[in-house]
């Protein structure tokens, strides 16, 4: 009994301080809503990206991609480098529809990509990780703690959502609501992948992480994604996001 009282006397003030500090005007859902609105703010964007793939021995390979995105769910990418994959283009449309154009065959093929844990072009990002779309739709949020200037949320997939993860932990900057770090936990509740987002800056009024890195803790590989150049709201036509356009 005595011990409990003692613990309580120490813990209570701590809890109060923490609560009054970490509990501003936001609930978990509100934080996640803000995150979604920040991430999907621009109407469209065009990015030149460099993907650097590191294997577990530290060997590097590079990819260059130009990526067009409209809204949260239309996306078209073209590979610029390496030379032997140059011209490969892919289009991802709402409802998991995806097309790939293979220039060496001059053929476009529809790809069924209902497998979420398939890795995107040899990177450590799976199609699930690349999926645009609101966190709020896919996850139930819960506030875990406040750490530095970040909110830390625990995101559990909604029952109807198919996910390779059992849970995500999301670090969100308290001022900008830009995610700074995401921990991915596998079905065995083990931390399996870690994404960090750096060089977060405001460009043309939008917040953007210029560099993000996904490490696969199971095999020691990682992928660094560097946004070299970005343009917002250029009025990309819907026409761009069609099968026909892939072959250009």
């Amino acid at each position: 009994m005595k011990r409990i009282t003692k613990t309580t006397t120490i813990l209570l003030p701590v809890m109060f301080i923490t609560l009054s500090w970490a509990q501003p005007e936001f609930t978990a859902s509100q934080i996640l809503e803000r995150v979604d609105s920040v991430v999907n703010a621009p109407q469209d964007q065009t990015m030149n990206m460099k993907l650097i793939l590191f294997d577990k021995n530290g060997n590097e390979r590079e990819r260059e991609i130009v990526m067009y995105q409209k809204g949260g769910d239309k996306r078209m990418g073209k590979i610029l480098a390496p030379a032997d994959q140059r011209g490969i283009a892919f289009l991802s449309l709402p409802g998991g529809v995806m097309y790939v154009y293979l220039p060496a065959f001059k053929k476009t093929r529809r790809i069924a990509s209902h497998v979420k844990n398939t890795k995107f072009a040899g990177t450590d990002f799976t199609y699930e990780d690349m999926e645009a779309g609101a966190y709020g739709i896919k996850y139930v949020p819960e506030i875990l703690k406040h750490e530095g200037s970040d909110h830390v949320l625990k995101l559990t997939p909604r029952p109807e959502i198919q996910s390779e993860y059992s849970m995500l932990k999301l670090w969100v900057d308290e001022k900008t609501f830009v995610p700074t770090k995401i921990e991915h936990y596998d079905k065995g509740k083990k931390l399996c992948k870690l994404m960090t987002r750096d060089k977060i800056e405001e460009t043309s009024g939008y917040w953007l992480a210029r560099e993000s890195e996904m490490s696969d803790l199971r095999n020691g590989q990682k992928t660094k994604m560097i946004i070299q150049d970005v343009q917002f709201n250029q009025g990309l036509a819907d026409d761009l996001f069609t099968e026909r356009h892939l072959e250009r």
Binding site: V115, T118, G122, K187, R218
Partner: protein
């Protein structure tokens, strides 16, 4: 020379006993953390080219040890069975140390339909087939595909495999146990089998411990019984057993303290110490029994010390030569595990020797010997009759004895060329055991569980390289024992097929690179090609058991193909279980020959120095040569193969044979000097030292026949071979040596001023 030492032993007996107790307790403490290393790929040195390649593949491609779980059911394509497979597959992924799990519920599937292509899974884990239509459709589709039929699903759809790839640094046995526990806890419809190296290793390590736990006490019990019949005294029974127990505890304790795991080879050390180490104490006690005042603790220590000092030199020499025999494994073998065995067996013999000349007499001085020998006691007479009958016959008909020996030698010589060699771990299990049944199923339904791997170096996106890989696969599959050759070339072909270009390797690099975009990052791909795309592996399954001649045909055939087909553009290298077995076998042969040559030479030199006679040295080799021939002949006749454990019998047999020679010839030399008459000296030697040898032979032989009950086949074989060694060495020492000595009448040099003779003289003067 040893009189002072002997006196010291008797005077300091309390401290000696206390010291031994403390060391034993400390060793026992370390033994609690005993580790078994059943992974025989680690028995070759890390620097071995085949091992280096094997390890390289392990590190680059997610491990090369496969744990195979086979599920057998009336029909695999049943909603419940598929749910089980899915559940197991997910569960296995969460075990740390497992890098990849492949089963029908997560295997890559590439297919095309009217709309386009689908690069996905054979079964969608989020939408498992439930209805009969779905299941039938899936069955028809899966069995039609070469990628699954006979590889993941048996042709008759009654069995399926779940393949776990273990990380290279993983503890195979521990993971195997975790897998079994996990599957055991989940109710699975159908029969589950566990196959592949990790499960075999786990079973072997359990069996090693179980066998030793159960059988060593039995061996001890039976040996004790025989020792009692021989000595008729508690000390004659207890002391050899205590000495063996303590020296084994010290040796294994030291191994544990130095973090050296017990291997499939060093697990035999306790058994060997039993055979070799017990002899030292038996000789010491036998010698002390000759002291009429023995056990009388009130008397001055001079008397037992005097008897003791006479046996110290032969015991030290015997131990020394045995140590030389075991040390020959350290310098004569390339295999790390045999070298480890050499080091610790040598130490074990050293401990046995030290204990038998210190602790044993110290303890003996507190214990009563056999009831005072009555010259006409019934037991004495019986044994005396047997021994004297044999010895009298030998001494009377030395030529007949040698003729009989010659017949035995000829029989043995006929057996020697029939010796088979086998390093197949499967052979460690008795027929009908779980592992054997699992392996039979794997062989029958999936073509085997043993992987052979070819490392390909070159630009993997080049059509030429992929085509060469495809040709290599065809070559592998043309071999009767090899099936299911698989590489990334198959996936590229499949991909080409679904984009409508036919099932073939596309003719241009650009096309392959395009297809690659769709495959890259797939789990199965990372197990087949490195990220830089300059290296890939071809994997196939060997169906036959890995008997040496089969392995040789496989490995040599592949190497020949490699030599003919390597170009500047691409090259192939072979590794995998067959080549590891091949390397092990080559080195076992080499270890055997070099250790026998080294040991025999060292032993010859020692006897030469001891007897100061060339003829003596040569005569001393007789029991060794006879027992070596005896075991190898026996192995040939009974078809006991030479494997990683039985290869050690040669060294053990030298160790034991030489001990008998040293004890026998040492005693004979003294008796000859004392009595002057060869026949009398032989008679006396046979009745004293001969008695100790015969007790040793009978006790250890009987004890070791208990090992026939072992679960682990090598331990069984080892038991019977040690028994044969004992009998053959005993025969060599007790029958052949006297016969040869009678016929050649050698006179061994050196004046004899041994204190024991003074005792004898004093006694006869009384």
């Amino acid at each position: 020379m040893f009189a002072g030492f002997s006196k010291w032993v008797i005077e300091q007996r309390k401290y000696l006993i206390l010291g031994a107790l403390i060391i034993t307790l400390v060793s026992g403490y370390f033994i609690r953390s005993i580790k078994v290393n059943p992974d025989f790929t680690s028995y070759l040195p890390k620097s071995d080219p085949v091992v280096r390649l094997f390890d390289h593949i392990g590190e680059e491609y997610g491990g090369n040890l496969l744990a195979l779980i086979a599920l057998e059911a009336d029909d695999i394509f049943d909603a419940g069975v598929i749910r089980d497979i899915d559940r197991i597959t997910r569960g296995l992924k969460t075990i740390s140390g497992v890098s990849y799990v492949t089963s029908i519920t997560n295997i890559l599937d590439i297919r095309s339909d009217a709309d386009g292509i689908e690069v996905s899974r054979l079964i969608d884990e989020y939408d498992l087939p439930e209805t009969n239509e779905e299941l039938d459709e899936l069955k028809e589709y899966a069995l039609a595909k070469e990628m699954y039929r006979g590889r993941l699903i048996s042709e008759d759809a009654t069995a399926t495999l779940i393949i776990c790839r273990l990380q290279p640094d993983a503890d195979e046995a521990a993971i195997a146990q975790q897998i079994k526990t996990m599957i055991g806890q989940s109710a699975v419809s159908g029969q589950v089998y566990f196959g592949g190296m990790p499960f075999m290793m786990q079973d072997v390590s359990n069996m090693i411990i179980d066998d030793l736990k159960l059988l060593l006490p039995l061996v001890a019990l039976l040996t004790a019984l025989i020792l009692y019949l021989g000595f008729r005294s508690p000390r004659g029974v207890l002391l050899p057993l205590i000495a063996v127990g303590i020296s084994t505890t010290w040796t294994i304790g030291l191994m544990c303290a130095l973090c050296v795991p017990v291997s499939l080879v060093s697990n035999i050390i306790p058994v060997i110490l039993f055979a070799v180490g017990s002899a030292y104490s038996i000789h010491v006690i036998s010698r002390l029994d000759e002291d009429p005042s023995a056990g009388d603790t009130s008397s001055s220590p001079t008397q037992p010390a005097a008897y003791l000092s006479g046996v110290i030199l032969p015991v030290i020499l015997a131990a020394f030569t045995t140590m030389v025999g075991f040390l020959s494994f350290v310098f004569g073998s390339y295999l790390t595990t045999i070298r480890e065995f050499g080091i610790f067996a040598t130490l074990g013999v050293f401990f046995s020797c030290i204990i038998s000349i210190t602790l044993v007499p110290a303890l003996a001085s507190y214990m009563k010997p056999k009831k005072q020998r009555k010259r006409n006691g019934p037991d004495e007479r019986t044994r005396g009759r047997v021994i004297s009958k044999i010895t009298a016959a030998t001494l009377k008909h030395p030529l007949l004895t040698l003729a009989l020996s010659l017949v035995l030698i000829v029989i043995a010589l006929l057996g020697v060329p029939r010796i088979e060699r086998n390093v197949d771990i499967l052979d460690y299990f008795k027929p009908g055991t779980e592992v054997r049944r699992a392996e039979n199923l794997m062989k029958e339904k999936f073509g085997g569980s043993t992987p052979v791997q070819i490392l390909v170096k070159g630009d993997i996106l080049e059509p030429e390289v992929l085509m060469a890989m495809k040709r290599f696969q065809e070559f592998l599959e043309s071999h009767a024992d090899i099936s299911h050759a698989q590489s990334v070339a198959d996936l590229v072909e499949e991909m080409s097929f679904v984009v409508g270009e036919g099932r073939a390797i596309p003719g241009s690099r650009a096309k392959i690179a395009n297809l690659w975009f769709l495959l890259e990052g797939e789990e199965i791909v990372t197990q087949m090609v490195n990220p830089q795309m300059n290296e890939a592996i071809i994997q196939a399954t060997v169906g036959s058991s890995l008997q040496t001649d089969r392995v040789k045909v496989i490995v040599d055939g592949i190497n020949e193909y490699i030599a003919e087909n390597n170009t500047t553009e691409y090259s192939f290298e072979q590794t995998g279980m067959p080549s590891i077995h091949y390397r092990l076998d080559e080195n076992i042969k080499q270890s055997l020959v070099s250790s026998i040559v080294l040991a025999t030479t060292a032993v010859f030199i020692t006897v030469l120095l001891l007897l100061r006679s060339l003829r003596g040295g040569l005569i001393g080799l007789v029991p060794i040569a006879f027992s070596l021939l005896g075991i190898f002949g026996f192995m040939g006749i009974l078809r006991i193969p030479l494997d990683i454990a039985t290869v050690l019998v040669g060294g053990v047999s030298i160790g034991i044979g030489i001990d008998y020679s040293i004890h026998f010839l040492g005693r004979f030399r003294r008796e000859q000097a004392r009595m002057g008459n060869t026949r009398d000296a032989l008679q006396q030697t046979l009745q004293t030292t001969g008695r100790a040898i015969s007790i040793n032979v009978i006790a250890v032989t009987a004890g070791f026949l208990v090992l026939l009950l072992a679960n682990l086949v090598p331990l069984q074989r080892f038991g019977i071979l040690v028994a044969i060694t004992m009998l053959a060495s005993g025969y060599g020492a007790l029958l052949m040596l006297p016969a040869i000595i009678i016929l050649t009448k050698p006179v061994f040099g050196g004046r004899n001023n041994n204190s024991i003779n003074e005792v004898h003289i004093k006694r006869s003067a009384k």
